[in-house]
Amino acid sequence: MNIFAQMRREFAAFFYSPIAYVLIAAATVLNGIVFLLVVDFLSDPRAPHGAAMQMFFGGTIFFWIVAMMVTPLITMRMLSEEKSSGTLETLLTAPISDLQVVLAKYAAAVAFYIVLWVPTAAYPITLSFYSKIDMGPVLAGYLGTLGVGMMFLALGMFFSSLTKNQIISALLSFAAVVVLFMLGIFEFISAGGSSDSMLGYMNLWTHMEDFGRGIVDTRHLVYYGSVVAFALFCTVQAVQARRWRG
């Protein structure tokens, strides 16, 4: 299937530029610092009782900083670069549909995002030498990380399809991701009522707290899936719009 050929190229393309290495290094350092702080904090006898990985995923703002900073940088070049260099033309005149192109690129972005989190697997492994680790919540935490990341990446794909300029693409995606995150946070300051449950449904912060505790709530996953589907649909429409623009 040629969609896999496209995916392979997209994934390899990350590593042609220094961006991949910078991102991997930055994410690893940031996550490492967060993990160190978490462990340091919990090893204080006066600290509340808690599991390190639970706090790593759901307990601090740092997780969100990494997730929200990194995803726009992953997707910024996806379609913008093809548009600005003209390669979109060679790509879309090959026997591959616009939808397949978008899906292949998205899959490559998700794969790269997963690669970014692979080094953090060292944390639960390290912890397991010193204490007993409950793997359920850890896996749920990774599932949440993947879900939230997939949602952010899909939004990033859409903004990348709107502009030739990678920086604009990254800034717009970052803004969108921040808005999406803040919407949920409003639950905490909302006066209650019907908007409350609505915002609660979208509250990524509590979602990650749940995942960190090992609770896999399918409503959260459905929410991520809906955003992903909608954003990718819009991306395909934006790619197709080139044909009709006049």
């Binding site: 050929a5 393309a13 042609y16 060679t90 879309l92 591959i96 044909r243």
Partner: protein, 328 residues
């Protein structure tokens, strides 16, 4: 093989392609000739399915390009203008990826890539990074990409632009060779180029077809059935002009240009027939002046367009060009 019917493409304010219809027969090499912004690239982008038309229809091998783009794209090899490539990939890597993208079965990929590399003489640079190659090589990588998978139809948008004369000759030879078993549409704004490789030519200006035919017919038609010959003589006696005017087939002798030392150059307009030059030679022998140079002038596109499109709204053509690029 390719059938274009009443094709129109409008961008915001301009009409890039205006009700164009033409057919391309199997194994025909069709040249698309026109100035920048005439609508050549837009037409080619519509045929390859990158743009849609505002109205009209394009059929490739009996299938509608808009309805069944993927079926049609499978047997088209396309070299876009400016040859967009991924600069960070290696030549053979890129061609391998393109072969997979074009659904060449895994077992045949290596062979088709090797063939393309050989045909476009890329063997020496196959392991180099595309971004570091010269313009000429990159052009050939683009062409090699178009050839990957051995498509029945090749659409080449300005295939020789930016190449040096040697490379241009090589590419022309290649296109001629390829044209023996394929249908090719190639666009150009260089008349001799189109003349060298195409069996039929369409001249397009401001989105409309303004002339078509075989290159010889077209040239004859464009200059009103006359040929321009430059004659350089050493003429101490001053008899040359009258003698030239007396040659059968010569219509006028103009612009004597005195180059000193008895050397004079004339611009002769004559019937389009090789015999005229022979008779000029004979006239020189009998007329007692020395013939130093005799050449028929090659028509440039500028000449053609002065003839075909003597209009004063030429700036608008440039305007539409910009719109076209923005729309991409």
């Amino acid at each position: 093989m390719i059938k274009v019917e009443h094709l129109t493409k409008r961008f915001a304010a301009t009409t890039a392609v205006d009700d164009i219809s033409f057919d391309v027969q199997p194994n025909e090499v069709l040249g698309f000739l026109g100035p920048n912004g005439a609508g050549k690239s837009t037409t080619l982008k519509i045929i390859t399915g990158f743009f849609s038309a505002t109205s009209g229809k394009v059929e490739v091998d009996g299938q509608d390009v808009f309805r069944r783009p993927e079926a049609v794209k499978r047997f088209i090899g396309y070299l876009p203008e400016n040859v967009p490539l991924y600069p960070e990939m290696r030549v053979h890597e890129y061609l391998g990826y393109r072969a997979a993208l074009k659904r060449v079965p895994r077992s045949k990929r290596k062979k088709t890539v090797e063939q393309s590399i050989e045909r476009c003489r890329l063997f020496d640079v196959r392991k180099r990074i595309i971004g570091q190659l010269s313009k000429g090589y990159r052009q050939r990588v683009g062409l090699a990409d178009a050839l990957v998978g051995n498509p029945r139809i090749l659409i080449l948008d300005e295939p020789t632009i930016g190449l040096d004369p040697n490379q241009i000759r090589q590419i022309r030879e290649l296109i001629k060779e390829l044209g023996q078993e394929r249908t090719i549409i190639l666009s150009s704004h260089i008349l001799p180029e189109v003349e060298a490789v195409c069996s039929r030519v369409l001249i397009i200006n401001e989105g409309k077809i303004v002339g078509q035919g075989r290159p010889e017919e077209l040239r004859a038609g464009i200059v009103g059935g006359s040929a321009s010959v430059t004659v350089e003589v050493r003429d101490p006696g001053g008899t040359a002009r009258a003698a030239l005017q007396g040659v059968a087939g010569v219509r006028s002798v103009e612009d004597p240009e005195d180059r000193g030392d008895g050397l004079i150059r004339f611009a002769v307009t004559a019937d389009p027939d090789i015999g005229v030059r022979e008779r000029i030679f004979d006239a020189a022998v009998t007329g007692g002046f020395k013939l130093l140079g005799l050449s028929s002038k090659t028509l440039s596109l500028e000449d053609v367009f002065v003839e075909i499109t003597t209009r004063d709204d030429y700036d608008e053509v440039d305007g539409s060009r910009e719109d076209e690029e923005e729309a991409q």
